[in-house]
Symmetry: D2
Subunit: 344 residues, 4 copies
């Protein structure tokens, strides 16, 4: 922590800052310059931060230096982590494709989508039984009935299930049916939900809030980690900007930035970031080229009648193209390709 004193700060004001820092067990180092005084603080940063020194007379600014996410930080855990989901690894040695319908609508549609996912090379099935929708008049998902459909389709296809949970009260029932719990972009700072999935004993996929900074995202992951669950996969899904040509702006730089700051795996969602079917393959390639550990992609047997996000779902020849992209980038990026093993 660094405390910048104003240019008119008196020696007594400087001394008072030092006194308060030391009273909280911190160490204060005073740098006196021609124009102003800077005080470096080390030690009990959280306790010193709670002093609210910025409000003291003579203080111009207070800056934090340390990150607040210790458990998910790479500082104390330099090796990048692998998270296993129903036996499928997500991490630095592989490229993992998760695919499926945005929403579970019927058993037939879900099974058809799961088969499409396999064609595309997916080793995990996505599908929403609980859908957080901006409008209360939009389709909200099938709930428990949807979870059962997903479990049936897993039995049929062998694909472990990734599905969203939108409320702390639903965590138990979702954890019972799913292999990985997804926390969506609108819930990234639903702290009760984060704690509940942290307690659930299942791997978690944490999507970035649509206007969250990378720091806030990692702090949200820290909420889960604090409950003893480090099986967290981060998912970059586009952020909100002024540009309206795409649904969101894929922040592809977030992939290497997060991998530098945290040991957790990072995947990319090319479907929700672009919001357009014709952008899914280019954004998939871009995400993998930036170093992503995997992708999560919408597929649907009949996009034109999909109850949710049809305009971005892949279908038909797209699947082969996606499969080829995953294969090529597994090789280019020096990663083996999980689905071959599984399929083999």
């Amino acid at each position: 922590m660094v405390i910048v004193m104003s240019s008119e700060a008196t020696p007594a004001q400087v001394a008072e800052v030092v006194r308060r820092v030391e009273a909280e067990g911190g160490q204060a180092f005073v740098s006196r310059g021609v124009a102003r005084v800077i005080i470096g603080v080390v030690g009990e940063v959280e306790r010193v931060a709670s002093l609210n020194l910025a409000a003291l007379p003579g203080v111009a600014r207070v800056k934090r230096v340390n990150s607040g996410y210790m458990l998910v930080s790479r500082e104390n855990h330099t090796a990048r982590s692998v998270v296993e989901v129903g036996g499928v690894p997500i991490g630095p040695d592989s490229i993992t494709l998760i695919a499926g319908p945005c929403a579970v609508e019927t058993p037939e549609q879900t099974l058809a989508a799961a088969r499409m996912a396999r064609v595309a090379g997916a080793t995990l099935l996505r599908g929403g039984a609980y859908k957080p929708r901006t409008s209360p008049y939009a389709f909200q998902g099938l709930g428990v009935e949807g979870l059962r459909i997903l479990a049936d389709v897993r039995a049929e296809t062998g694909l472990p299930v990734v599905t969203e949970v939108v409320a702390a009260r639903d965590v138990d029932v979702v954890a019972e049916h799913a292999d990985m719990l997804q926390v969506g972009t609108r819930n990234m700072q639903n702290f009760q939900l984060l704690q509940a999935v942290g307690d659930a004993g299942k791997p978690v996929m944490l999507k970035r809030g649509m206007t969250a900074t990378i720091e806030e995202w990692l702090l949200a992951a820290e909420y889960i980690a604090q409950r003893g669950n480090l099986d967290i996969v981060l998912c970059e899904r586009g952020i909100r900007t002024y540009e309206t040509a795409t649904r969101n702006t894929l922040d592809v730089a977030a992939v290497p930035v997060v991998q530098h700051l945290s040991h957790l795996p990072v995947i990319v969602d090319p479907s929700h970031s672009g919001g357009r079917r014709d952008l899914v393959i280019p954004l998939s390639r871009a995400g993998l080229a930036a170093g992503a550990d995997g992708l999560i992609v919408d597929v649907h047997p009949h996009p034109e009648t999909a109850l949710c996000d049809g305009p971005q779902a892949l279908v038909g020849a797209d699947l082969v193209e996606l499969s080829r992209a995953v294969a090529v980038f597994s090789s280019v990026m020096g990663r083996d390709q999980r689905f071959e093993r599984l399929a083999g």
Copy 2:
């Protein structure tokens, strides 16, 4: 709804769009121009929207015309609403000041802050017992103990209590102690929480999500209204932009824009938008001058030791200045001043 066909769309493609619209009970009006065809749709817009016509061959774009928020819209309810909180009105004929500490810390601090709030002219007390914090290592609030302190301070001062609820499971206990339930910026799209407060039978203050559009905000209010609760007050609290000189950017235009679109009262939070004590009074004045129906302001007896958001809390002479601003703008904007009556 308007469907814009691409310039190469064939007559058969146009006919297919019309067929699907009519099959869902909608009416389609085809406008043939030199360069392209435009189809206007009226009728069952939600059902037609679910057709996902944008995915059909020949369709270039689909645009929605009607809003999705019927209950909170001003279209069907032209008179602006008044919401009563423990007997205190918030609406077009008054300027209501809500003030108190960001977080409830101790009985003494809360009572002192409530007395400061009265000095500033407040008729409602704010104070957080449950605090959603970005970092899991920050102070998270006193919980039920904090609710009891608020109830005691209400008994002592006569000020009805506005307090935040951060999880659906806490709605009952908060509703038992508080006069108004606040949904915070991070929970604006926590739909289970919106439905729960909609069921609770208490007035609700809905803060704007820090990156929510005005349309998304009104759709979030619609979630509450759908449960039969129209006692909703909207609170503009600043949005996230690229500017870092202030904590958030107060979108002061949102006040008249929302009042044009919705019958619900709108208040402004000058404390969380600016994030700086020296901006609270200017932003309070700006909000009232734009037509806000009230303010919600942080006050604290000892900002330098506050456990939450100390740098923005008012103290001392600020209170008198705030009180004067509320009085002057009540007169300038042609509104009487609630607290005078109450104080009288």
Copy 3:
């Protein structure tokens, strides 16, 4: 300047940073903590900054402390400045209204708009002869012919003229006809233009870039000031955000923030920020309530046929309402009202 070393920095790496700082004439103060070392630098900051210390081994981060705008900063010039435009003051003791048509179209339209401006209480006339337009197919202004019309209307009405200049090569001809040169939002970082208007010997209105930070805005003003011209008025005209309900988002907090950082006057443009006629009055009031030193407003005798920005131009009864707002806020904010004197 503050240099934060990484946690693994060696003593030799720290010593090297100190050596380089001192070789450039700076002073380095080393703070050794348990976890890391922080080095405070004072002295020749610009020269030290050019060392690019962030690239040295062991350095984690480099932070600047001082602002780069010395001439427009309030640090060395605590009294707020008054800028005179053709005898009309803009500054802390008055509220100055500038009004007129977005674009000069004909002598009749310009004269009619100038008379409307007087009705609204304006003491300065705005009007564009050179229009920077996003599309090359949109009306680009009358050029020199437009300047002549403005000069004629000034002779007729007595209102000094504020008009935009969009290219360095036009500065001389515009300065010959106008009383104040306006630099528009798209040219805020057109540095040649800034220098040219700095040399022109006329007051300058500098609009904020639509995505400029406040710091960049003040640095742009510093370009003008460096040429010896301190007659600069800053104009907040809305910033670009994700919100689409308004043309731009009026950053009303920029008014007090800039007044805290700089001695220059600050005015608000409620027409271009909202982009909607019905928002002009509420945003005018909000700007004045936040402490703005004036307003610049579009008026047009026939908004429905305006060649530029018709949807936001005031007309008819709006003018009286604007005049009333200016009068009321001159009184509320403790400022006298220039136009009364002029009119008297």
Copy 4:
């Protein structure tokens, strides 16, 4: 163009809209629905747009359908263009690497950087003689002296030169020395400059404004094209968002979106978007994987003493890694590799 009437519009108001549209030579198609009337307009859209119909009584909204960029649009020019710069093609069949120092500082530094550029596989040399800098106290470039250095280095290395021009008055002298004129992000809407480079008879690289929409960017290109110059290369260089972990946010989706809308080549600047040396290679790969036609990258022999943007310059082993990325992606994306031919 689509005109949405308000729900209370009278038949006379609808008729008046139709009359005005037809008086301007447009065709109006009236769609009458249960709730409201929608009018589709085709024909002379620009003239109809100038009517400002949004201001008429009964009109709720006016929406544009056609793009305003005819010359750079792909609608009338489906084949993607190739732009030749000093004999080096930029277009759909190649990946072209442009590299060099951010700023020309000395002949030695420029020559050293050019040799580094060749090692990295570059076939074009970048380097700034005129630098637009946010602060007036920062290094502003060597001007004509810098242009001469670039020309000398071209003679020595055979690399054609790409350099920025920041003012219309400098276009002639820059065009005399350079092979391609660069318009920087701060000048994307400096319309006089766009017209001047359009007249200069040299290829132009147009960087995206840091807060420009894709539509505004293409309209800026249209300004150049209107002067008869279609040798334009677009450069995505990151946009301004709320995220501060990177200097800008690379909008990688802009590559396929622009290629869909326009026939012009699109390249990516991984140096200025990320602003960090460690992000240059990942963002280069991401840009190429999204389909970019080339890259423009900062290299510098001594980043730690660079006068401009040192923290993002590549050096040493980075160059080989970049060269390998270009080679691999040329193959993966089915493009041959220009520099091999040149080097061969």
